[in-house]
Structure formats: C-alpha cells, structure tokens
C-alpha cells in the first residue's frame, strides 16, 4: 500500500500527536491539562504543514497558535479559577453528541473521502507535480492586486477590531 519510508514514519508520528492531543482536549478534567493537550495537537498540525511543503505556515502555526493563542487560553484558565478540578465535564446530551460525531465521521469517510480520493476511487492519484510554489509566491500572492491583497487588508482591519473589542469587553469597569 504505502511504502514505509521516513515520510510515512513522520506522518504517523505527527498524526499520533494531533489526534492524541485532540482526544485529550475533549476528555480532560483539568482544563490546564486540556490547554497543554491542545498545544500537543497544534505541534502535530505544524508537523503536517512541514510534510506538506508549507514551511512558512508551519512556523506561523507555532508562532501564532502555540506562542500566542495557547498562552491566551492558559491565562483565561488561570483567571477563571476553580477550573482545574471539574466534577462534571460533560453535559446531559453527551451520548447524542458522540453518536452524531461518529456518524459524521463515517459519512465523511465512506461517502466523500474514500470514494473520490481513496484507492479505488475516481481520482486516486492526484497530480502532485514537482512545481511546488515557495514562500516567495505566498508573499507575492498576498500583496498582488490580482490576487489576495483585498482579503489581506480586510484581515488587518478585522484584527484591529478584534483587539479593541477584546480589550473593551474584558476590561474591569469597577476600577
């Protein structure tokens, strides 16, 4: 099926991180452990980006998600104290959620992924050509007038609005 080379071993390694971390996030009693499991999962995703020849996105993933967002989560866990010994982690309809999630996974797998891109599907061997675009092309794409400069500028506005909004919402008005 797939040859056992360094890429397959790396893929297995990173997928264990990603999925193991994800399972840890949704089943942890201690929210601090949950945040650390999220960091493990994000490392796995960064590894996937490296495997998929997107080194810039891998570095940005580590820098933004792990270096900033995960730390934000840890701060939030610490500021809302009493969250480290949760007595009940799940709400009343957890079994229904589990059933729905498993059905969703089955539908995605059997109905969409395997028939089209699986071994006997309609499009099994995607043309992974040797002409892979580099980080320079990403930089050009983000500022090129024909490409993505408008979403780029709008996202900077979005971030400014989010920053101001977060500061205003979380500010302590009793001072």
């Amino acid at each position: 099926m797939i040859e056992l080379g360094p890429q397959s071993v790396a893929f297995l390694f990173f997928s264990v991180f990603a999925l193991g971390g994800a399972l840890g996030v949704v089943t942890s009693r201690n929210l601090m452990h949950g945040a650390l499991y999220l960091i493990l999962s994000l490392f796995g995703v960064a590894g996937f980006f490296v495997l998929l020849s997107a080194p810039f996105l891998a570095a940005v993933q580590v820098l933004v998600y792990i270096g900033a967002i995960a730390i934000l989560f840890i701060f939030a866990v610490m500021l809302t104290r009493g969250m480290t010994r949760l007595t009940e982690t799940l709400n009343r309809q957890w079994w229904l959620s589990a059933v729905v999630s498993l059905m969703l996974l089955a539908v995605l797998l059997v109905g969409v992924i395997l028939p089209v891109w699986g071994e006997g599907g309609t499009n099994p061997n995607m043309p992974s050509t040797d002409l892979v675009a580099t980080t320079v092309d990403l930089g050009v794409a983000l500022v090129d007038g024909d490409q993505y400069v408008l979403p780029f500028l709008v996202s900077s506005l979005l971030l400014t609005a989010a920053m101001i909004g977060a500061i205003v919402v979380a500010r302590d008005d009793t001072e």
Partner: protein, 102 residues
C-alpha cells in the same frame, strides 16, 4: 509520498473530535478549545488539497493564512467574553448563562 486520503482522514477525525467537544462539554473555555481543534482540521484540509491538487498556485496557502487570522481574532474575543461573564456570574458553565438580564 503519503496518499492524500490519509491526510483527509486525519483532518476529518480531528474535526469530528472537535465537534464532539463543542457539543458535549459544559465549560465555555473547553468549548473554545474544541473550536480551535476544528479550525486546525480545516487548515490541514486546505493545505493538503493545495499540495496535492494545485501546488503551483498559492490560493490554498493564502486561504489557510486567512483562517489563522480569523482563528486568532475569534479566540481573543471569545476568551474576553468568557472572562467578562465569569466576572459577573462567577461561573463559566454555559448552561448557567441562560438569562438575558443580570
């Protein structure tokens, strides 16, 4: 190379685990953590499709970069709201936030 459907499988599994976390957990911060998992699964999908279908065109990676931006903004504001709610109600269990006033 690893076939495309394995990347898609991992991304789908991560998405489904995140969906279960959003639907089944009581704590608001745990729900936000699960939303981050779902956004990461989407990113894996985007970059995997970019690499295997159109690696010469940077649309996939640009899209993934914008997903990063949106996830960061959403995490910041979500957590600010959680902290504000904690300050007034001393609880972050989402089932307790069921009154429109007070």
């Amino acid at each position: 190379m690893v076939p495309l459907w394995m990347f898609l499988l991992v991304a789908a599994a991560m998405f489904v685990i995140g969906a279960y976390g959003v639907m089944a957990r009581r704590n608001a911060i745990a729900i936000l953590l699960s939303v981050e998992l779902m956004l990461n699964a989407v990113n894996i999908n985007l970059v995997a499709f970019w690499r295997y279908v159109t690696p010469e065109n940077m649309s996939g990676q640009a899209f993934a970069a914008f997903v990063f931006v949106i996830a960061a903004a959403e995490a910041a504001i979500g957590l600010a709201i959680v902290i504000a709610i904690y300050r007034s109600r001393r609880s972050v269990v989402v089932e307790d936030v069921n009154l429109l006033r007070g």
